[in-house]
């Protein structure tokens, strides 16, 4: 039986970031530095040791996700974001009916491995965009993405999510080419603060100022984009401080 990992103290996204800084500033190296391995991650993804927990069942071996079911595309996503999100699912920072038990069952090593696996799938094709999307809705979404919304006091999504939603900082997801239904669901979740995983409540502040139509518009717009590979880090070349942050600092993981 898979050993349940001990995240019991609830390491939230904020705490991961704090750990990230502490690890960087700590005068001593972490006791055991876990390194991500995409090959091992593939085993996790296909459910090699826990077939009923296989990521591929919903997200696909290729990480394409499922547009209709709103299972997000994971392929080529930022490693830091994927790993942080799994930890957030497990800790309760981002409670999710389906993902929380799955993430809780993973060890820390498995988390960073499967995050690395999906992050390195840079060739997965994008789904063909919906032919039915209303052009006016796309235009509205594009305007919000590029410029923001003046009356709502919302800045453009591009500021943080980068050109064509390709991503900028390590911690913020690439959103270009993500499934519209998933993006919309996330924005609605931010709006109601059901699930956060949002240090500084930045997305909550933004989403709470978007109307339902605004949300549909940006979701449709970003879904139609094919982003530049800004978020596709070379795992082997990631700054060590960022990997370090995912080490199990409370020392309870004995996998």
């Amino acid at each position: 039986m898979r050993k349940r990992s001990a995240f019991g103290s609830g390491i939230a996204a904020v705490a991961v970031v704090a750990a990230l800084h502490a690890a960087a500033q700590s005068p001593e190296p972490a006791a055991e530095v876990l390194t991500p391995d995409a090959e091992r991650g593939q085993a996790v993804a296909v459910g090699a040791s826990a077939p009923d927990q296989a990521c591929m069942a919903c997200h696909g071996v290729d990480g394409a996700g499922d547009a209709a079911a709103a299972f997000p595309r994971l392929a080529g996503q930022s490693f830091v974001y994927l790993a942080t999100t799994l930890i957030d699912f497990a800790s309760g920072e981002r409670p999710h009916e389906i993902m929380t038990p799955i993430a809780e069952a993973l060890t820390r090593q498995e988390i960073i491995d499967v995050a690395a696996y999906y992050a390195t799938l840079t060739d997965t094709p994008f789904a063909p965009p919906s032919a039915e999307t209303d052009a006016a809705l796309l235009q509205r979404g594009g305007t919000i993405a590029a410029l923001g919304l003046a009356p709502a006091g919302v800045q453009g999504c591009i500021n943080c999510h980068g050109p064509d939603g390709g991503g900028l900082g390590y911690e913020y997801p690439a959103i270009g080419g993500q499934h519209a239904a998933y993006l919309a669901a996330r924005l609605h979740a931010f709006k109601t603060a059901e699930s956060v995983g949002d240090a500084q409540a930045i997305m909550r502040g933004i989403a709470s100022r978007l109307s339902d139509e605004d949300i549909a518009a940006v979701a449709a717009y970003y879904a139609a984009l094919r982003p530049p590979p800004l978020a596709q880090d070379d795992i082997a070349e990631l700054p060590p401080q960022l990997i370090d942050a995912f080490n199990d600092d409370d020392g309870e993981d004995a996998e």
Binding site: G153, G156, I158, N159, Q200
Partner: protein, 585 residues
């Protein structure tokens, strides 16, 4: 013949920070207020969005958000015996234009002056005796005390959402600051590596480092006007740029929404004020003449005029309009233009020779760690031979490479050696900057030029300024202190940055121009009284740093904001009830 508009209660010259404050408050008090801004409307969305805002060439180097010298500039000379010549390009300072003014492209550093600075003349005489500073340094008392201003500092910080640590306690705030009735409304900013090294070294030397007080919001924040600021993202395009994230306290984010929501307030753009009209016999102003957006000359009559233009321009406008007695350096009489001051810098560039990564491009305008141990009220000047002092800091505001590519002083200015040095030092170099006070001198003043005119046919303002000897001695002292700290940081090379032999209008130093319309208790040495009310025309008020009798070793914006709220309080509670001089001379 100018078109005459219907009379209103209050006309504001300018559409920047003080116009937003005064406009909002007086509109709320039931006054019909019009702000006349020469530039255009600007808003966070769409005007400040990145990536187009993250264009160093356009904004930092070509000054997209600043005034255009082609339309109006000033002339400059170091000494009265020289011929003043036009400042043909912006350099030393960067006045803003457009709604929001310079507070759109400011850094966000938000200080209070130390208490003694408001009574500098009496304090210096009492503490150090008469004659400690030579008579030529014409320091003055302001006519208002820190204690009187404290609640207004507090309110302005709340409007801006300033973040920092409380003063004077064990949590690491500024032990040399004046007393505070409240902590800062927001927590301090983060501390990157370069700032941490400075903090450690300074603390190790017995100084008291603390986070620079910052109006780059450190979290979601709603100010007393109901305006929301969002967390600063440390994007590194702060000063000289607009903020896309609603994080930097600019008028359009913090104040104008409340003002514009009031039908009593109107922001009129494309309105270039050319003259304040007055009736000298009656001792009042009657309104202002301006060129409107269509190019027509217009007279806006008003019961009250408030000058809210950029610092020195209020003095220039008064001189162009013939209000008050122009200052004459030959006789040292007259008041308008008197006591122009600036900022005096010492510092050191500290090279770690590629052994660290500071990532200077991860920055915010007011991201810094400061020590106030060398400021005027913090140290004993008895043996130092100068008056004044500085806030001394390491900041991390920008790594934008056109302007930031530090190399050691003996590096050639171009070629392979330069290129190699740039590559080597870009990510491992920091600066310690001592932002020193600027004391007034009888030869440093604002006047009107006799040769050059602006695009509207008016004479240009004329600036005469050089560093007084007192300030040179101070700068030398500060540079030595900065070098010492740099060496304590374990750097490879530390280079002191000496003050130039003569003040030059060319390299950027600071947009902290002060004086020219100084406040005081004595009408023979001040233009406005302690409520920023003109001694000459009781319905004329003057805002801005032009009212400072001397500039302190701090950024001026906090004091400008506090004084604006202080003055508007006097207008609302005293002047409007009983128009007339609020202080008997």
């Amino acid at each position: 013949m100018a078109v005459r508009l219907p009379e209103i209660d209050v006309v504001l010259v300018g559409g920047g920070m003080t116009a937003a404050i005064v406009g909002k408050e007086l509109a709320e008090a039931g006054q019909r207020v019009v702000a006349l801004e020469r530039g255009q409307m600007r808003q966070t969305v769409p005007d400040f969005q990145s990536p187009t805002m993250h264009d160093e060439l356009t904004y930092s180097i070509r000054h997209a958000l600043m005034q255009n010298p082609e339309q109006q500039t000033i002339t400059f000379r170091n000494r009265p015996d020289q011929t003043p010549l036009p400042m043909r390009r912006l350099g030393s300072f960067l006045p803003g234009e457009g709604v929001g003014g310079a507070m759109v492209h400011w850094n966000g550093v938000t200080w209070r002056f130390q208490p003694e600075w408001f009574e500098l003349k009496s304090w210096t005489e009492e503490r150090y005796g008469r004659g400690f500073v030579s008579d030529e340094v014409t320091i003055q008392d302001w006519g208002v005390t820190y204690d009187e201003l404290e609640p207004y500092y507090d309110f302005f910080e709340k409007i801006c959402g300033t973040g920092g640590l409380p003063y004077g306690d064990l949590t690491g705030g500024n032990p040399f600051g004046g007393r505070r009735s409240n902590p800062y409304p927001n927590p301090p900013m983060k501390e990157p590596y370069a700032l941490n090294l400075f903090r450690t070294a300074a603390a190790g030397m017995g100084y008291s480092p603390f986070p620079a007080p910052s109006s780059n919001a450190t979290r979601h924040y709603v100010n007393p006007y109901g305006a929301e600021l969002k967390p600063c993202m440390y994007c590194g395009y702060c000063e000289r740029h607009g903020c896309e994230h609603f994080a930097k306290a600019s008028p359009q984010v913090s104040i104008l929404p409340a003002a514009l929501a009031n039908p009593n307030f109107e922001m009129r753009t494309g309105a270039w004020v050319t003259r304040i009209e007055h009736d000298p016999d009656a001792g009042i102003v009657t309104g202002v003449t301006y060129v409107d957006a269509a190019g027509r000359e217009v007279f806006q009559p008003a019961s009250m005029v408030v000058l809210c233009a950029y610092a020195y321009h209020n003095a220039v406008l008064m001189l162009q309009s013939g209000i008050g007695q122009p200052y004459d350096p030959a006789t040292q009489t007259g008041t308008v233009g008197r006591n122009y001051c600036y900022q005096t810098f010492g510092g050191a560039t500290v090279f770690f020779d590629g052994t660290v990564r500071f990532n200077p491009y991860m920055g915010a305008g007011a991201l810094g760690v400061v020590i106030d141990d060398f400021n005027n009220g913090s140290m004993d000047h008895s043996e130092l031979g100068f008056l004044g002092g500085a806030s001394t800091s390491v900041s991390q505001a920008s790594g934008r490479p056109i302007a930031f590519h530090p190399v050691p002083g003996d590096t050639p200015g171009w070629g392979l050696a330069w290129k190699e040095a740039v590559r080597r030092h870009y990510n491992s170099t920091l600066s310690i900057s001592a932002q020193g006070s600027s004391l007034p001198h009888p030869n440093n003043y604002l006047g009107l030029d006799r040769t050059y005119t602006d695009a509207f046919g008016n004479p240009l303002g004329m600036l005469t300024f050089d560093f007084p000897d007192n300030d040179r001695r101070m700068a030398a002292f500060l540079t030595e202190r900065c070098v010492e700290i740099g060496e304590a940081m374990g750097a490879s090379v530390v280079e002191g940055n000496d003050l130039a032999e003569h003040y030059s209008i060319v390299p950027y130093q600071s947009t902290h121009n002060t004086g020219g319309t100084v406040m005081g208790a004595d009408p023979t040495t001040s233009v406005v009284n302690r409520y920023l009310q003109s001694w000459d025309c009781h319905n004329l008020f003057v805002m801005g740093a032009g009212v400072f009798p001397q500039n302190a070793g701090y950024n001026p914006t906090g004091t400008v904001g506090a004084l604006a709220y202080w003055a508007v309080d006097a207008i609302k509670n005293q002047y409007l009830r009983n128009p007339g001089p609020l202080v008997q001379a």
